[in-house]
């Protein structure tokens, strides 16, 4: 009840703490989670994340949360549910009855704060449905996850939420522009948390980097909680958006990581020293084979990156004819004997007879 009272007062005065939106992208790559079965089972991870979500909502009751699953073949909304998927509708899925039982029992638990129960219920329901609808063929077809798509969805949702917030809650507040240089906190403070378990995302290099830069412009930090694998581009994303990147040392202490490192929102982080890793891998992926390169070739016109010079030195992206320097020649470490002799001869003869060669 205290919470409800607080809301009224805040809305009346318009000067309470700025609410924040936490957008969680949950990497549900089945392969990776199967591998983590013995250390951090998927269900336990979900439970920890739910506790974290509850903590986020408890900080400020105007806080919002959204969860999306980046699955092996598509990105799926987990919470809030899309309108087309009613929570207790006439879903004829066979498994629904069982689930509904647990759902209702969960909701009727009097000792649980209802918003927490609602989210938990909805999220688990969507997640179970997602796993149920995953076929073996899906898993066989790909070993990775649709991170780029999920990021794009996150950014568009954040954009919508920001606009909606400004329209309803705070019409009097000035509209923040994406490039607004002032650090004054206006509107909704949104951030993305990626719970990532897949390592290999090189083939999504360009879309991921595009969404990273979009997030940077929108001032949306992209926090990365890395449970497994190591993704170069997510490191860069966290660095570019001045967010937290954490590669966990101890998976079983995941809740501690979530609470200590990821709970504060942008406003609070300004006053805190945020743990993040010191070294950022800045390598890029080439456009031709999508492999991460140490040394590469860059088209001087369109800045496309290649791991080896493209065929005929024609840029694959913009079709510009490029010129290559003498880079990439086979190193010559042994002087050619013949040449040396010739040079020595030259040196001798030129002194003696300079005239005939002059013309």
């Amino acid at each position: 009840m205290d919470g409800v009272d607080g809301t009224d007062r805040q809305e009346g005065k318009q000067d309470g703490p700025t609410p924040s939106l936490l957008f969680i992208i949950l990497d549900t790559n089945p392969h990776a989670w199967a591998l983590l079965q013995n250390t951090l089972p998927f269900s336990k991870a979900i439970a920890n994340i739910l506790v974290f979500i509850n903590a986020h909502l408890a900080v400020n009751n105007a806080n919002q949360v959204a969860v999306i699953a980046s699955h092996s073949q598509r990105s799926v909304w987990l919470y809030p549910r899309p309108p087309s998927d009613p929570q207790h509708g006439d879903d004829s899925d066979t498994g629904m009855d069982d689930e509904n039982k647990t759902d209702t029992s969960n909701l009727s638990d009097a000792s649980k704060y209802r918003p927490f129960a609602l989210i938990e219920n909805s999220l688990l329901h969507s997640l179970r449905k997602l796993i149920k609808t995953t076929t073996e063929a899906d898993i066989k077809a790909t070993t990775s996850t649709q991170m780029a798509g999920a990021l794009t969805m996150a950014l568009s949702y954040i954009n919508k939420a920001t606009i909606a917030f400004l329209d309803t809650g705070a019409a009097a507040k000035p509209t923040p522009t994406a490039l607004d240089s002032s650090d004054k906190a206006v509107g909704l403070q949104s951030r993305i948390l990626v719970v990532s378990v897949s390592g290999d995302l090189a083939y999504q290099y360009i879309p991921i980097m595009n969404s990273t830069f979009a997030a940077q412009r929108l001032r949306v930090p992209m926090d990365i909680l890395k449970l497994a694998g190591d993704t170069v581009f997510l490191q860069q994303a966290a660095f570019t958006t001045r967010a937290v990147y954490l590669q966990l040392k101890n998976l079983q202490g995941v809740l501690q990581y979530l609470m200590m490192a990821f709970l504060p929102d942008q406003l609070a982080r300004k006053h805190l020293v945020v743990p993040t890793q010191e070294v950022v891998d800045f390598r890029a992926a080439c456009f031709c084979h999508r492999s991460v390169v140490d040394v590469g070739f860059v088209c001087s016109i369109c800045l496309s990156i290649f791991c080896t010079p493209p065929e005929g030195a024609i840029c694959l992206t913009c079709e510009t004819q490029l010129a290559l320097g003498d880079y990439g020649n086979k190193p010559a470490v042994i002087p050619k004997k013949k040449k040396k002799k010739k040079r020595a001869l030259d040196g001798g003869s030129s002194r003696a007879t300079p005239a005939p060669e002059a013309a």
């Binding site: 089945p30 392969h31 990776a32 199967a34 079965q37 951090l40 089972p41 998927f42 269900s43 336990k44 979900i46 920890n48 506790v51 938990e120 688990l124 997640l127 179970r128 796993i131 995953t134 898993i139 897949s198 390592g199 290999d200 694998g229 040392k249 101890n250 998976l251 079983q252 202490g253 809740l255 990581y257 200590m260 490192a261 020293v273 743990p275 010191e278 456009f287 031709c288 999508r290 369109c302 079709e319 510009t320 003498d326 880079y327 086979k330 190193p331 010559a332 470490v333 042994i334 002087p335 050619k336 004997k337 040449k339 030259d346 030129s350 300079p354 005239a355 060669e357 002059a358 013309a359």
Partner: protein
């Protein structure tokens, strides 16, 4: 500037099998060749530049550098054949560069002559040779200075190093350490080949001259006294003719020092400087007489009239035509003529800059252009927004869809993907769905596995999600991260002292470490340039560089050893202090040798990246060497 004169325009050259020196005279009227034996020989050949009819040079690829000069026989007609002179440039250092420099200058002079330019001392119409003869060869190239010329210009390099002590230090260090087989020329060209950008910037800077400045605002009276030097007085006179007039009329009567002191206190000074004159300013009858005279002297006025101001920016003209302040310019008080009293600072600054500019010969105008408005000025003055939109001059880029590119190339499969692909899909799915369906049945509290009153000792036996030990470990990890980040922030804000930066190394050791790092980087740079050039002719040079890399490693080790020795000395000293303390007081002090930082370990940590790169370079070299040895067993 004068130090650079002429030295780039000399070269040792063989003429008819005799050693000698080929040079261009300082007045650029003729070329001379002087035999080197006897030492004080008179020039054997002198060719006036006006008599040269043609130049020929052996191509760059030819190892022999021969310059062929065709001389018109004196008094000869077109029909008589020219006399040819062959100069074989045989300088041990860089014959090609020497010859090129000379040929550049010569061809420039010839072009100048052929254009019937009366003054040969001008090249490209604006660089007076008498002032910067060394710069001539730069001006002759098209705008940007050629790499090869920059690399060959020793004077420019020396000059740059004088101005950049750090570069000089690197150069000296690098030169000291270079392998003996590398000649000075080779070394020089190697060293500068990676720094042509610095040379170019310096050459550009070098060729720029500083103009005069608003002198009245520079001279600052301190109290009553004023320090003004002769040069500044000259500038005041040229910028403010009125002051010259006042000086002329008053100085014999007035002491010169006194004149300047009073001038800088007077209202006239304030007026000329553009300051507002207030009631409290001291009056001085000598200077106040001139207050109403305009500093805009007649000559400037005449010049303004001559320059034909376009009508629509001619404020006075507009005023006459009943435009100006009565209509369009009414609001803008800066756009009115003769409002000196209203905005004196703008007025005076404008007139000073105008006068300064009037005294500078324009360097970017072709004197051959018709007098009046140039095309550039015209373009500046046109009202562009009234014109039709011009055609865009963009270059079209045909960007292809990224997915198309990818489909054409088979993407390589990562290790992770291969690993996952080996799993049985049904197992994976079954495990996961099993877990999701039943995992959180018991509620969140039990699922997160945190047991409030559990004993950490019990848990250690069976770690599980949320166990005390794992949470403690996570916390430790995070706090480490916070500490590291905190340190980083402190460094970024400059809050740390040099001690922490040096990690316990003494200044001397740290400096030698910095230096050896810099030189090693330099060697690596050269190594890769040579190694990747694929030029078999330079393989000898390459092997020399590899020797240097070997020695670079030794140097790092030596620094590490020195650091370790230093650390041991500190430890020993502290031990003795503790012993002395113990003998005095019979109390033991807690002490641990590990608290003393620095030493070999620190050095190796700091140098770790460069050691890795050294190793990589050497390994690559050895591999390439072995591979080529196999190919050519005969060598």
């Amino acid at each position: 500037m004068s130090s650079r004169a002429g030295s780039g325009l000399k070269g040792s050259a063989l003429y008819k099998k005799t050693d000698g020196v080929f040079s261009i005279t300082d007045d650029r009227k003729s070329i001379i060749w002087t035999p080197s034996q006897p030492p004080d020989a008179a020039p054997a050949i002198t060719i006036a530049i006006t008599n040269i009819s043609n130049l020929q040079q052996t191509p760059e690829t030819n190892p022999k550098v021969i310059l062929k000069i065709f001389e018109k026989p004196p008094g000869g007609t077109e029909a008589t054949p020219a006399i040819t002179h062959l100069f074989h440039f045989n300088s041990p250092k860089a014959p090609r560069e020497e010859a090129n420099a000379i040929k550049e200058v010569l061809s420039c002079l010839l072009v100048g002559l052929k254009a019937n330019d009366p003054s040969v001392s001008k090249v490209n119409g604006h660089l007076p040779v008498s002032k910067a003869p060394g710069a001539l060869q730069f001006a002759s190239s098209d705008g940007w200075y050629e790499d090869s010329q920059l690399k060959a210009d020793f004077d420019l390099q020396r000059d740059l190093m004088i101005r950049n002590p750090f570069l000089k230090q690197t150069y000296d260090e690098f030169r000291k350490l270079k392998s003996d087989g590398l000649s000075l020329t080779q070394f020089n060209s190697q060293f500068w080949s990676t720094r042509t950008n610095m040379l170019r910037a310096h050459a550009v800077e070098f060729n720029q001259k500083k103009g005069s400045y608003n002198v009245l605002s520079e001279v600052k009276p301190i109290g009553d006294s004023v320090t003004i030097n002769r040069e500044q007085i000259q500038l005041v006179f040229s910028q403010h003719p009125l002051v010259k007039q006042v000086y002329d009329e008053n100085v014999p009567k007035l002491n010169e020092v006194l004149f300047w002191e009073r001038f800088f206190l007077s209202r006239l000074y304030k007026k000329l400087k553009g300051n507002r004159i207030t009631e409290s300013d001291t009056t001085d009858p000598t200077f106040d007489r001139y207050l109403n005279q305009s500093d805009d002297d007649r000559s400037l006025r005449r010049r303004q009239e001559e320059t034909q101001i376009p009508h629509f920016i001619d404020l006075e003209g507009n005023e006459e035509n009943q435009g100006g302040t009565k209509s369009g310019n009414r609001k803008d008080w800066t756009m009115r003529p003769n409002s000196t009293t209203k905005v004196p600072i703008i007025r005076s600054l404008n007139s000073v800059s105008e006068r300064i500019m009037a005294n500078v010969a324009p360097s970017d105008i072709d004197p051959a252009n018709p007098i009046g408005m140039s095309e550039k000025e015209f373009n500046e003055l046109t009202l562009r927004d009234l014109q039709a939109a011009s055609n865009e001059t963009r270059i079209e880029l045909n960007i292809k869809e990224q997915s198309l590119i990818q489909s054409r190339h088979k993407s390589s499969v990562s290790e992770e993907a291969r690993f996952y692909a080996a799993k049985v899909p049904s197992d994976v799915l079954h495990d996961l769905s099993d877990d999701v369906m039943n995992g959180i049945g018991g509620g969140l509290q039990s699922a997160i596995g945190f047991i409030d009153d559990s004993n950490s000792e019990d848990e250690d036996k069976l770690p599980h999600v949320g166990s005390k030990s794992s949470i403690a470990e996570a916390q430790e990890h995070l706090i480490q991260g916070v500490k590291a980040r905190g340190k980083e922030i402190a460094v970024a804000r400059g809050n740390t002292d040099s001690k922490t930066m040096q990690a316990g190394l003494s200044n001397g050791i740290f400096e030698s470490l910095t230096l050896s790092h810099a030189t090693t980087t330099e060697f690596l740079n050269q190594f890769w340039l040579l190694f990747l050039s694929g030029d078999a002719d330079r393989a000898g040079e390459l092997s020399k560089t590899v020797e240097s890399l070997d020695r670079a490693m030794e140097r790092i080790n030596a620094v590490a050893a020195a650091a370790e020795k230093e650390r041991q000395e500190v430890i020993e000293q502290q031990r003795q202090e503790i012993r002395a303390h113990y003998q005095r007081t019979q109390k033991r002090l807690a002490w641990n040798a590990n608290t003393i930082k620095g030493g070999e370990k620190t050095v190796m940590e700091m140098m770790d990246p460069i050691i890795k790169t050294l190793r990589k370079a050497l390994t690559d070299y050895k591999e390439a060497f072995a591979a080529q040895n196999l190919e050519a067993p005969g060598s």
